[in-house]
């Protein structure tokens, strides 16, 4: 095998790996992108406005990426709570599907500084999954 052929083969092998390794929600602003993951799904999201701050309403631009043979969710519920304080938000966010695994979540407010946990409940392939991501806000 010539050197050129070896390079072509390596590139051909590397392409799917690179695609698989590509971050979920690459179109989101990388400076503020946060992620949550389970074995079957990854969720990438960016707050609007960013960065997150306590005491102001914000939205999330969110992307769900199925892993392996998983499907896109049929339903998505988003919430947030403070486990240490044992309370959630005072507002119920609304989730709007934009297609291709993209969502807009409106109406969130983290009303205290401290550690919050985003909770994403997905319904896909007949299963319910919960993905979480903790964040510290001031």
């Amino acid at each position: 095998m010539t050197r050129a052929a070896r390079c072509a083969l390596l590139l051909a092998l590397a392409a799917p790996l690179a695609a698989a390794a590509a971050g979920c929600g690459d179109t989101l602003d990388a400076r503020h992108r946060l992620e949550a993951a389970s074995a079957r799904h990854r969720v990438a999201f960016v707050p609007q406005p960013a960065p997150l701050a306590a005491g102001r309403h914000f939205s999330l631009d969110l992307v769900v990426c199925p892993q392996g043979d998983a499907s896109l969710p049929l339903a998505l519920r988003v919430d947030a709570d403070m486990p240490a304080h044992r309370h959630g938000m005072n507002y119920r966010p609304t989730v709007r599907a934009l297609g291709d695994g993209r969502y807009r979540v409106d109406g969130l407010l983290l009303h205290m500084p401290g550690r919050w946990r985003f909770v994403f409940d997905l319904s896909a392939d007949g299963r319910l999954e919960r993905l979480t991501r903790e964040v510290d806000v001031e």
Partner: protein, 427 residues
């Protein structure tokens, strides 16, 4: 470390005899001045510093009453001020907004529970900086200043004004009629509800202009932000210790957050919620239900282009834990607004500090929420916390008096109406 290292000994031998005799008093004085500043600066941890800085700067960027096209407009503020202090706003000319919101008492009335035509259930809150709130009333039943104003304006226990009375008042007073026409570009509307809404928006324009000035705390906070240790040293030590308690062990900053010292939300602090035997004030729980039943929210046709401000109204929902929660009040000017809590049950700030120090956890009913715990403050710590709370007062707030209104210049023939929705009546 002992003594002076070998390398420094020659220098010390040279300098000390030269400096000490002549400059010792000046050096000692400089040292004495520098030490308090160093102590003040050095006593803060990075976390404390960040938390203190989060309480400013003050004033924050101007806020406008949401859904109120009159907000921030000088002529509307002047009209609202005239109406606010005018007892003719009530049909029997006995009661004005200022009857329960006295400027000399930081726009409170000094009573435990407000007195309208009868004793009401709750304490009259201060109106200073009200425009910076997210919700209004102790239960947050109003999502704007103007919708809040409709309550006492219309309530039979308070001003009890109907639209017809308001229309007659404005129409029958040359100065008010002139100001009304300048603001709205039209005479008072014939529709009763539209008249009440328009009057409430003018009142809210005035109330929204009441933003208090910076306080001794703000001077300290700003000095900390710019690293001005000399200015920081002017803040009383007791107040600084109280501030450290506030953002530290006390965790008061969790709810009394930000430049306004309120997170704009609601909490159960074990204050009790019986109005009288057998009668309960459900607080935020009832407030959300009242909000959702109100025809005057930011989601209603009465709101002037509320935009993003309506997000809160669209997404708030009642939860079981809201029962017995009341609004987290701003602490700005708090030393001037006794008595305290939603029903004025605590006479002094010292009582409030003692309440948190000796908190009875059995009286909390917030579904196992774990934020509050008895602070067990010593007498000295309680004094420090009070010194800090005292430093949150604008020294000029109590001296505020309504500026005399200038003469009203009749409106030109063609004035573009400012609040077409307010004058259009219900749709």
């Amino acid at each position: 470390m002992t003594g002076v290292s070998g390398n420094l000994r020659p220098l010390v031998r040279t300098l000390v005899p030269a400096l000490v005799p002549a400059r010792l008093p000046a050096l000692l004085l400089a040292l004495a001045m520098a030490v308090p500043a160093c102590v003040a600066a050095g006593a803060l941890t990075p976390t404390e510093r960040a938390r203190i800085l989060a309480h400013g700067p003050w004033p924050p960027p101007p806020a406008l009453d949401p859904g109120n096209a009159l907000a921030g407009r000088g002529e509307a503020v002047a009209l609202g001020q005239q109406l606010f202090f005018d007892p003719r706003l009530s049909p029997d000319a006995r009661m004005a907004c200022a009857s329960c919101h006295l400027p000399a008492l930081a726009f409170t009335d000094g009573r435990a529970r407000a007195h309208g035509r009868v004793e009401l259930q709750r304490n009259a809150p201060s109106l200073w900086n009200a425009v910076h709130a997210r919700w209004w009333n102790w239960d947050g039943a109003a999502d704007s200043l103007w919708s809040q104003a409709i309550g006492p304006l219309s309530d039979a226990r308070e001003l009890a004004s109907r639209g017809s009375h308001l229309r007659a008042l404005v129409g029958g007073d040359a100065d008010l009629a002139c100001r009304w026409r300048r603001v709205f570009g039209a005479p008072p509307p014939a529709d009763d509800e539209a008249m009440r809404v328009a009057t409430a928006k003018a009142l809210a324009a005035f109330v929204g202009s009441l933003v208090s000035a910076p306080t001794p705390f703000d001077a300290y906070r700003d000095a900390l932000a710019r690293g001005d240790e000399a200015a920081m040293a002017r803040y009383p030590d007791a107040a600084r210790r109280g501030l450290q308690l506030f953002v530290g062990r006390g965790r008061c900053h969790l709810c009394h957050a930000g430049p306004g010292f309120s997170n704009g939300e609601f909490g159960d602090i074990g204050a009790g919620f019986f109005v009288r035997p057998g009668v309960v004030d459900s607080g935020r729980h009832g407030g959300i239900q009242a909000l959702q039943a109100s025809p005057f929210t930011l989601l209603s046709a009465h709101a002037d282009a509320p935009g993003e401000a309506a997000v809160k109204t669209r997404h708030v929902y009642p939860q079981h834990r809201n029962f017995g929660e009341f609004k987290v009040p701003s602490l700005r000017n708090v030393a001037q607004t006794a008595p305290y809590l939603h029903d004025g049950r605590l006479a002094s700030l010292a009582d409030v500090v003692r309440h948190y120090s000796q908190l009875d956890l059995d009286r909390l009913h917030a579904d196992g929420e774990r934020i509050l715990e008895p602070l067990g403050l010593s007498a000295g710590e309680q004094r420090d916390l009070l010194a800090f709370l005292d430093s949150l007062s604008d020294p000029g707030a109590r001296q505020w008096r309504p500026p005399p209104p200038g003469p009203c210049q009749p409106a030109p023939d063609a004035v573009k109406p400012l609040t077409p929705r307010a004058l259009a009546g219900p749709r």
